[in-house]
């Protein structure tokens, strides 16, 4: 049952991961035993495109309803997309049959947010780490994996409930690494951890990236966390990307009012920092009922907000080279 090791192309001609117009809609419920009129579709992901080069990290940031987790899962076909394309090293992932997909799965992995539900409570750490090796017929060694994520070999015989959140998260990372992937979707891997443990795990992820030349899609809701690991950042709101730029630029000069608001809403551990806070009014709209025109317009604090924002959805366009924003007034940021 050995799977031949898929060899990555020696000279990647383009980015390792490329997503184009990814769309994921959930059909609205139908009442009356499935015979009535369908209610509105939930447009979880509504046309998302980006590319990640080998060895780099794209930070995907957003709040509830932004669709960021759905993007991560549909890219790996853990949920079937509605439309769009995902190119991994030149392969069209959405067009693969199950056999080819299984082979490709080795190269694209995922680390989950919740350390308490991401490990099978009935399997020891060793069994959890051995399983992917068995599935793909690999010759890995469990102690080496544990060592790589900073866990003592004694942890192999333990069950998940005997480990702390940070330790479980490390096991989850080891599991993803066991198949020697090139690309890892990190779905909010540190959101559920304490500050000091968060720092440890972030450092671990950064170290692993350098050592194994990994490519990351780092999904998070915390812009501060993303700052420490991302090369490029994309901000999502209600299923669309509203701004995308290299990390340094987006923090120095955000061009979309939502990004500005997000940056200012992050509580900074500095007493003076709160004075300039922009507090948005209203709730995050539900993806089932997105506002007309620009999805952000009901809450937008931009002084130039106009009627055009209400009727005309702004396209995601380049403002300066490499820096895209979906705002009619992006040249004039707040």
């Amino acid at each position: 049952m050995t799977t031949p090791t898929p060899v990555p192309s020696p000279q990647p001609l383009g980015p390792l991961v490329e997503v184009r117009d990814l769309v994921k809609h959930y059909a609205g419920e139908r009442r009356w035993f499935g015979l009535g009129r369908a209610q509105a579709d939930v447009r979880a992901v509504d046309g998302v495109s980006f590319a990640i080069s080998g060895g780099k990290t794209l930070g995907l940031v957003g709040e509830s309803g932004s669709g960021k987790t759905t993007v991560g899962r549909t890219m790996l076909r853990l949920q079937e997309p509605t439309s769009g394309s995902m190119l991994f090293d030149g392969n069209e992932v959405f067009a693969l049959d199950s056999g080819a997909l299984r082979a490709l799965r080795r190269r694209m992995q995922i680390v989950f947010q919740d350390p308490y539900s991401s490990l099978n409570p009935r399997m020891t750490v060793e069994e959890t780490l051995r399983e992917p090796l068995e599935i793909h017929g690999l010759n890995g060694a469990v102690p080496a994996l544990l060592d790589e994520v900073g866990l003592d070999a004694a942890f192999a015989k333990r069950y998940p409930h005997e480990l702390s959140g940070g330790q479980r998260q490390r096991v989850g990372i080891a599991r993803a690494l066991s198949v020697e992937p090139q690309f890892i979707v990190c779905d909010e891997p540190v959101s559920a951890l304490d500050v000091s443990v968060q720092a440890q795990v972030l450092n671990l992820l950064a170290d692993l990236q350098t050592k194994r030349r990994l490519t990351y899609l780092f999904i998070a809701h915390d812009l501060a966390v993303v700052r420490h690991i991302a090369d490029d950042v994309a901000v999502m709101y209600l299923g669309k990307i509203v701004e995308r730029a290299p990390a340094a630029e987006i923090y120095a000069q955000p061009r979309h009012p939502y990004t500005t608001a997000l940056l200012s809403a992050v509580p900074a551990p500095h007493p003076r920092a709160s004075k300039q806070r922009i507090v948005l009014s209203g709730d995050i709209p539900s993806p089932a009922h997105p506002p007309s025109g620009c999805p952000f317009h009901p809450r937008c604090p931009h002084p130039k907000k106009s009627e055009r924002c209400r009727t005309d959805p702004p396209p995601l366009r380049p403002i300066t080279p490499g820096h895209l924003a979906a705002c009619h007034y992006a040249e004039d940021p707040m």
Binding site: F112, D114, S118, N120, P121, I135, H161
Partner: protein, 309 residues
């Protein structure tokens, strides 16, 4: 009762107690066993079940009389309990104790096998429906709905009428085929929620095949409702068997089952209560013990995860 049978009985009691004690020793080292034995009742339940199983297996050694032998229909009919007839005799002057001992074989056998079959079928159907969802789920669950709506006794009556009496194996199969619907519902619910858990998604992301996911990841974590179902199932099957015997469509006489003992002796319940109370108590004892053990198994399998405060 002869000396030999007394010895055999005493041996069964001692062995059961030893068995429980040995398992408790395990509890000192393994946390699962310790959780299993947390409640007193579990130990008693386990002990009683082991004892009854031993009695059933060693029936020829323990029972002093042939269970079908009518000892003296004139003078020994409905004889109250005495030293010779430990639990008295029944309406046909057969020794109640011996019949109970041999009856244990049949009743426990039907109970265990019938429940095993029902739980296996229910788990299989429930897991498939819960995992694949959509039309597979819809079709299977509508089938279950139909099954739940059918009156079991009538189906079994029909089966008996068609086959002119049911041998042991057929009875087990018939009971098994009509008792799995509730379990499938429970398992389906559990599987549907487990399916969305991150560790199952992780297994898919790693490239695991569906079979491995279901048997290695989903079902072991769905064990709790399955085990409880099984324990309650045995009780239900026992009672079902008793009902069938009462209606005269169970195991053919003169072979004893606890159910047909009750049925045969019901008319003399006021004059010779022992002949009905003994098998009735036996059934109750098994059901209660099974529930106690199922409690223990649930505790053992579900570690309470202590999340950080």
């Amino acid at each position: 009762m002869t000396l030999g049978t007394w010895l055999a009985l005493a041996l069964a009691v001692v062995l059961a107690a030893e068995c429980v004690r040995a398992l408790r020793q395990r509890g000192l080292r393994q946390e699962r066993w310790r959780r299993f034995f947390r409640h007193r009742t579990t130990s008693w339940g386990l002990g009683i079940l082991v004892f009854l199983a031993l009695v059933a297996v060693a029936a020829p050694l323990i029972a002093p009389f042939d269970p079908n032998r009518q000892l003296d229909i004139v003078y020994l009919k409905n004889h109250p309990p005495s030293w010779t007839f430990l639990l008295g005799t029944d309406v046909l002057s057969r020794d109640v104790w011996s019949r109970a001992v041999y009856g244990a074989r049949v009743s426990l056998g039907i109970g265990a096998l019938g429940a095993l079959m029902a739980v296996s079928l229910g788990t299989l159907v429930g897991a498939i429906a819960g995992y694949y969802q959509r039309w597979v789920d819809a079709v299977l669950m509508r089938g279950v709905d139909v099954g739940l709506a059918l009156p079991r006794i009538f189906i079994l009556l029909m089966a008996v009428a068609l086959w002119d009496g049911l041998p042991f194996a057929a009875l087990v199969i018939a009971i098994g085929l009509t008792s799995w619907f509730g379990t499938s519902r429970l398992v389906r619910a559990e599987v549907m929620s487990l399916r969305e858990q991150d560790f199952v998604v992780a297994a898919r992301a790693l490239g695991a095949q569906t079979g491995r996911i279901i048997f290695r990841h989903v079902l072991p974590n769905a064990a709790a409702p399955i085990i409880v179902s099984a324990a309650l199932g045995v009780g239900n099957v026992l009672l079902l068997e008793a009902s069938l015997s009462f209606l005269g469509i169970g195991i053919k006489p003169p072979d004893p089952t606890w159910g047909n003992m009750i049925a045969d002796n019901a008319p003399s319940i006021y004059t010779a209560p022992w002949s009905t109370v003994v098998p009735g108590l036996a059934i109750s004892l098994v059901v209660m013990s099974l529930n106690a053990v199922a409690d223990g198994v649930q505790d053992a399998l579900d570690p309470r995860e202590r999340e950080p405060a």
